[in-house]
């Protein structure tokens, strides 16, 4: 069942491959995986790489190990209630155990058992004991003449610890058991599949015998499944409150554009010593991490108003976090000889003055570039060209989707002056990559 593991997890857009399996195996060899709950943690540590992986990871885990498919937006409890794994688990409970208990409470119990880790188990039963008694050559339950002893250690098997048994031995037994298994079965401590205690089967962890005080597996799992913070933001959706952080991450990709030549002291000394004390200077390039950004925002007109706030939020975050040198200018539809330094557009900044600034600034223009054709007249076009000539790294971010750009004449014109991208996290990322390519051409 592990062969399929990377594939399942990859289908949830997670990074999993053969190396994941190798590391998992390493962890198993070291005795880190005794229950399904352990498996959850070990895989989580190996596969997730950001909080937004945790949601998809939990889903993938349920799908792979328990065959529980959680539909988008479906609460975990519901998905569990309609799953086979839960039904089988419930059938296995004695009538005492499920009497007068609401299904939802049983879900709690089910989750606690699924997520029970070997650390939660305060008092271990000797797992070796079970394995010694268990005869792997037992015939399948459905076969005639089934050994009634198969349920003999039913109570015991609910709390097994296999950590003293070598992995190879367990693997060998699993293979033997797998060969025997003819139909889908339920329960029993020597079967692969949902129910039993085998740490490698579906729903392997069972803790019924001793209730461990509030392992809280259910709580944790529900939090992961139903919390939007644990899912990746939609990078294709227009910039909004939900994906502003994804956009911010894309902006971090802006590379430092400056480099200067400085004296390479170590090399000078090394070479000088070789020359018997004659020191010839050697130089090297020094790179500086410096992010300078200019924003030009079209804040006039109703078409832009839904985006102004979130754009400002995005770049305000950028300014406090990493781009301390950030300047903002405003305009309405297009520019005539300059821009404004305030949102009310009362403080005019002539183009010639703006163009005196360091050409290494990264410039983002944010606007829909859609206006009446007469507004974008020849001198306005020339103004844009002046800017694009001075600032080498300049991109236009458009809140309209790409399909709509061609419907607007003015947009098509502006698109010829600047590389244009959608105002989505993905669009911003492409803009940043594009501008980084321009590095080295301009200076």
């Amino acid at each position: 069942m592990f062969d399929q593991l990377p594939e399942t997890f990859r289908s949830f857009k997670l990074n999993a491959d053969v190396r994941t399996l190798l590391r998992l195996r390493q962890a198993m060899d070291k005795g880190l995986v005794s229950t399904l709950g352990d498996m959850f943690y070990v895989l989580k540590g190996l596969i997730t790489t950001s909080p937004t992986d945790i949601g998809p990871f939990s889903k993938a885990f349920y799908a792979h190990f328990l065959d529980i498919d959680i539909l988008p937006g479906e609460p975990l409890d519901k998905a569990i209630l309609r799953s086979n794994a839960f039904k089988e688990w419930k059938d296995k409970l004695s009538s005492d155990e499920k009497e007068d208990i609401e299904d939802l409470e049983l879900v709690d119990q089910f989750l606690d058992e699924v997520h029970l880790t070997s650390y939660d188990i305060k008092k271990f039963l000797d797992g070796k004991d079970i394995l010694d008694k268990d005869d792997p050559s037992l015939k399948d339950k459905d076969a005639p003449g089934d050994n009634p002893a198969s349920d003999r250690h039913h109570v015991l098997d609910r709390m097994a610890d296999y950590r003293d048994i070598p992995l190879e031995e367990l693997m060998r037994r699993m293979r033997e058991v797998a060969k025997q298994q003819k139909t889908r079965h339920e329960g029993g401590d020597h079967w692969i599949g949902s129910g039993g205690v085998s740490p490698y089967g579906n729903g392997g962890a069972a803790a019924g015998g001793i209730r461990v005080g509030g392992a809280g597996g259910g709580k944790m799992a529900r939090a992961a499944i139903n919390n939007r913070d644990f899912y990746p933001a939609d990078a294709k959706a227009p910039l909004g409150d939900d994906n502003v952080d994804a956009a911010l991450a894309a902006l971090k990709g802006i590379e430092e554009g400056s480099s200067e030549i400085i004296l390479d002291v170590p090399l000078t000394i090394k070479e000088g010593l070789k020359q018997g004390g004659i020191f010839l200077p050697y130089e090297k390039e020094k790179r500086q991490q410096r992010i300078q950004v200019i924003l030009m925002i079209d804040n006039g007109g109703w078409s832009m108003s839904p985006y102004i706030r979130v754009v400002q939020k995005l770049f305000a975050k950028m300014k406090t976090r990493f781009a301390h040198d950030l300047k903002t200018y405003y305009f309405h539809n297009t520019i005539y000889g300059g821009l404004y330094t305030d949102a009310a557009r009362s403080q005019f900044a002539p183009l010639d003055k703006i163009n005196l600034q360091d050409k290494n600034y990264t410039v983002f223009v944010i606007g829909d570039a859609d206006m009446a054709p007469y507004e974008l007249h020849r001198s306005s076009i020339r103004d844009w060209q002046k800017l694009s000539k001075h600032f080498k790294r300049m991109a236009w971010l458009n809140p309209m989707s790409e399909g709509e750009w061609y419907a607007s004449m003015t947009c098509s014109v502006i698109k010829q002056i600047f590389p244009m991208f959608e105002l989505t996290p993905e669009g911003i990322e492409s803009a940043v990559l594009e501008m980084n390519k321009l590095k080295g051409n301009g200076w």
């Binding site: 943690y41 950001s50 909080p51 939090a223 010593l273």
Partner: protein, 293 residues
Amino acid sequence: MWTGSEEYLCDMELAQAFHMARVIGMPLLIEGEPGTGKTELPLQFAKSLGLELHVYPVGSKSSVEQFVAKFDHVKYLRDSQVEILNAQREEKGLESKLSTGGRNTESLQDYVLRGPATKAFSSPNSVLLIDEIDKAPREFPNDLLYALSHRRLVMPESGETIEVSEEDMPAIVITSNREQELPTAFKGRCVYHYISFPPKETMHQIVAKHYPSMDEELQNKCINLFYQMRSLGLERAPATRELLSWIKYLASFEKAEALTKVTRADGMGVLIKNHQDLQKVKLKILGKNPYQN
């Protein structure tokens, strides 16, 4: 498995991830909001088990050279000049000599400045903390990984190698505040753990660890107010560290006085460190118009 100490409440999930990282010999990468105890883990672990601790605080100018080892070229130049000078003096029959401080230009390892990685690798079973790796220049994480992927470090110029056996491998903890996305390849080679913000019940336990004799009513009030603030969606929400500082301030007063301070939210500057956030808190929690008084 290590699960925390007297002063430090280690989240079970974190303890498990840390244990796993140590057992399979991979670095543990901890991410999470600032002030959730990322750095505390290795510090407290080393303290409670009496292990040697090596810390490398990452900054915007960090390089793997500083982290592993650096060759001191300037000192080397000075000492080689001193040797020439001393030889000249001897020729002239002068007795006095300039000292090289016990260093010998013949043995290059005298000029190797050992960084925290080398120090950790040469002391068995130590703890190595690489703090705030997200502050580093872009290429640093991958360079770092290369240095850590073998249990062997090669010293610059001298060629001396520092090796550590699998058993003696230091426990490596890397923390990040997620200010910058780390390369996928880098993350893939670490055991990853994201510290979620602790729920109220855990917070009570954390506070109790630090202030065991704190009044229950006061504690409840503080923590309730704290979580109320966090739910406002502030630009910089207060974290555990801030709460503890605030409680420290309150603890210096009598109970009655402290309680009024909580209701008036005195000492707010410890919790809220942003002007806009402060106004939001004043308006929504204290019901004050921030533009008055």
